[in-house]
């Protein structure tokens, strides 16, 4: 008997949905036959049979959502081995029931859907908005963020480009000069390095160089930072690169409602905006605030109130900081977490006010430490709140190395929850 399990079909896939079974119970299959179509976080993929035999049991029906990777989905061969099959069936059913209950008591939306909804809502309001990038149209987005946009808005406004980042980034800048409002998707921000001259020299500086005549209303968006096991060239945080340059706004949300509200604000902003998403957050679900809500650029958010230490984070590090806070709360430590949401302009006032209350500061970012966002915050905090600090400021950052591939090394290179816990404990000990 061979039990086929839900396979991991992308580096970040944790759950999948069987959109269609192409075989029925009782069918004879040979190795290479397509058994099913599976929808992953990125695409719809075909699942092939590896062994020959009869389909004895289909364990997960088509359309069932969010089947965890590793869950048995179909049994091929040895139909007489009923005990084992019924055992597997039982396992699957109980697993699914559990998931449904946890999903049914909240109205939630994934970050991916929030981003898509933000673009769709704005595109409905303004004909001058278009989205352009690699695989944004027919493929429905390399990470499915633009799913459904081609169908609704057509090929005039949802445009697949060749693999030509410098070219289409520059094209977007020209279109913005010409009166349109482009959203340029980088499949990941790693590829924006091909286009960085157009972003900095053309998009960011022209307003100034033209004495205020030529604005560039454009959004460059896409996943930023490390994903999962894709190694050095595909895993880098660009927050500090872009925040360094005058003329750009840099946004990096964590939650779904911030992703939506800030993307809408970015599209409406008359300046060039770098919108840094995170691949690992795309599938994460959050309760979402009311529809059409705009989150202003440049305003941070206290996601957890506390008194002992201020922890500043953005993007994926906010979730890690929240988990760390729960552990710290067990030890009676009260942490205030600030989600920056926008990197530039920086909401330094929010940080200063919190530091004046807690007198201790830990800054978390996934990027490299040298000249990072943390470095900038430290510089400003010592300038504006030096007398309120009871301990040196601590940073929790990625290691100053190209991101390694090996699982254990990757984990060591990236900042983890334990690192935040340790930094907070450490900063408290400094004064004790």
């Amino acid at each position: 008997m061979s039990i086929i399990k839900m396979p991991a079909l992308s580096p970040t896939m944790t759950v999948g949905t069987i959109s269609k079974w192409l075989v029925s119970e009782g069918d004879e299959v040979v190795s290479g036959d397509i058994l099913a179509e599976i929808e992953t976080d990125k695409a719809t993929m075909e699942l092939e049979a590896i062994d020959d035999g009869e389909v004895s049991k289909i364990l997960v029906q088509a359309g069932e959502q969010n089947i965890s990777v590793g869950t048995p989905i179909i049994v091929i061969g040895d139909e007489n081995n009923t005990t084992k099959i019924s055992h597997v069936v039982k396992q699957v059913q109980s697993g699914n029931e559990k998931k449904e209950i946890s999903n049914s008591d909240k109205i939630t939306i994934s970050v991916r859907e929030a981003l898509r909804d933000a673009m769709a809502e704005e595109m409905r309001l303004d004909e001058d908005i278009f989205i352009m990038g690699e695989e944004v149209a027919e493929y429905q987005g390399a990470y499915k963020v633009t799913q459904g946009l081609l169908e609704e808005f057509g090929e005039k406004r949802v445009i697949d480009t060749p693999i030509t980042e410098q070219g289409f980034a520059g094209l977007g800048v020209g279109a913005a000069f010409g009166g349109l409002k482009p959203i340029i998707e980088f499949m990941t921000f790693n590829f924006s390095m091909q286009a960085i001259d157009q972003i900095i020299n053309s998009a960011a500086k022209t307003l100034y160089m033209s004495g205020g005549q030529m604005g560039c209303p454009i959004v460059f968006r896409g996943p930023n930072g490390a994903a999962s096991r894709v190694a050095a060239q595909h895993s880098q945080c660009f927050a500090s690169w872009y925040a360094h340059c005058p003329g750009l706004k840099v946004v990096s949300p964590w939650s779904a409602s911030d992703a939506k509200g800030l993307l809408k604000a970015s599209i409406r902003d008359p300046n060039p905006v770098i919108f840094l998403e995170n691949e690992l957050l795309y599938g994460e679900k959050f309760e979402i605030d009311g529809e059409n809500e705009i989150v202003p650029i440049g305003v941070g958010n206290i996601v957890s109130k506390g008194n002992d230490v201020t922890v500043v984070a953005f993007s994926i590090m906010v979730g890690k900081a929240l988990n760390a806070t729960k552990k710290l709360a067990e030890n009676g430590i009260s942490v205030e977490i600030i989600d920056l949401r926008t990197i530039k302009p920086l909401d330094i006032e929010l940080i200063i006010n919190s530091v004046k209350k807690t007198n201790r500061l830990v800054i978390c970012e996934e990027g490299f430490p040298f000249s990072g966002i943390g470095s900038e915050i430290i510089a400003q905090v010592q300038e504006y709140a030096f007398d309120w600090l009871d301990a040196p400021i601590k940073r929790v950052t990625g290691q100053d190395v190209p991101l390694p591939y090996a699982e254990n090394l990757e984990k060591l290179a990236l900042p983890q929850e334990e690192d935040i816990v340790n930094a907070v404990l450490n900063i408290l000990n400094e004064v004790n």
């Binding site: 030509t164 520059g170 094209l171 020209g174 000069f177 020299n201 205020g212 604005g215 706004k249």
Partner: protein
């Protein structure tokens, strides 16, 4: 821009006495004497303006990089004379001529060169970074080749809005080896964007001659792989420029896609003001000046059309006076207010 509308004129016999180069008689004959004079004046304005800029640079009134257009005037004046109001223009940093040909005010351009508050960019852009939304002039870009993707973006916006206009994207022979130029060729051909790539081949990318920098036979053929038609054009002859420009503009305007014009031209001055000019001989420059000068050539034609020496003197003094007014205006203008340092970073 479209001051030079085609008007049918009776055939005038045009004989070239000095250079012996054949001219397209048709275009000469299509234009009225007044229209020919207007072309002459525009080219002369650029030349005198650039000479003045060179002087001001020498006096220290203009700083930084300053790239003069002297010698190449027929290219931009010819192209702009066959374009429509509403067509957009973008170029690199040898851009003063383009601005004047787009109808921008010489006073504002000179004031920008001298870094004054009355300059087109309030003194914050300088020679290489000037823009006029009003005149559809989109710069003025300091990075070699970077204006090309932006140019196809402007063409994309014309296409998106279906406004019937074309973007003229000027680039030099030095830019044609930048990768983003080919990214732009590909996308503009793929999507049939209304753009003309005007390659101003003045034979030297800074100090490196085209033959030492560019493989292949002709820059006009650089779009061949993308199916983009190209023409080699005598860029020292304003009538050849106009004829090729009309053809390319018609092609792009009717939705057939991009077109490449390789304008064979020549700059008399150095790459920038600090160019020691070791890469070419004095006699090479002099030969072009004497035999192919675009302004002298048009002057001969005008002389054949019985424009008197007095008339030429009048034109000369009118242009000189315009340039002096621009220069005085610039030098009399204030430096930008120190408060301007921190404005125009965001809207």
């Amino acid at each position: 821009m479209n001051k030079l509308v085609n008007t049918t004129k009776k055939n005038l016999k045009v004989k070239r006495k000095k250079t012996g180069r054949p001219l397209k008689e048709s275009d000469v004959n299509l234009l009225s004497k007044e229209e020919l004079i207007e072309l002459y004046k525009q080219m002369l304005l650029i030349r005198r303006f650039e000479e003045k800029a060179g002087q001001l640079y020498g006096m220290g009134s203009i700083g930084g990089f300053c790239h003069l257009y002297i010698g190449q005037e027929a290219v931009v004046v010819g192209m702009q004379s066959v374009s429509l109001d509403g067509d957009s223009v973008i170029t690199s940093y040898r851009d003063h001529g383009h601005m004047l040909a787009c109808g921008m005010d010489p006073k504002g351009v000179m004031a920008e060169l001298t870094g004054r508050e009355s300059g087109y960019s309030k003194g914050k852009g300088g020679s290489m970074h000037m823009f006029s939304k009003e005149k559809n002039f989109f710069g003025g870009h300091g990075i070699v080749g970077a204006q090309v993707p932006i140019g196809i973006g402007l063409a994309f916006s014309h296409n998106y809005k279906q406004d019937g206009f074309v973007c003229m994207t000027y680039l030099g022979d030095g830019a044609v080896n930048q990768g983003q130029v080919y990214e732009s060729f590909n996308m503009s051909a793929l999507w049939k964007l209304p753009v003309i790539f005007v390659i101003e081949n003045n034979k030297y990318g800074m100090g490196t001659s085209v033959t030492r920098a560019s493989a292949g036979r002709s820059l006009a053929e650089r779009g061949k792989a993308y199916g983009i038609p190209g023409l080699e054009v005598d860029g020292m002859n304003i009538f050849s420029v106009r004829e090729a420009g009309k053809k390319a503009l018609d092609y792009a305007r009717k939705g057939s896609g991009p077109f490449i014009l390789e304008m064979k031209t020549y700059r008399y001055r150095g790459h920038s003001m600090s160019d020691p000019a070791k890469y070419r001989t004095r006699s090479e420059v002099d030969a072009v000046r004497q035999q192919k000068d675009c302004i002298e050539n048009l002057k001969e034609i005008l002389q054949e059309q019985k424009i008197t020496d007095d008339h030429f003197k009048k034109i000369d003094s009118e242009i000189k006076s315009n340039v002096s007014v621009a220069s005085d205006f610039a030098l009399d203008s204030s430096l930008p207010d120190e408060k301007e340092l921190l404005t125009d970073i965001y809207i």
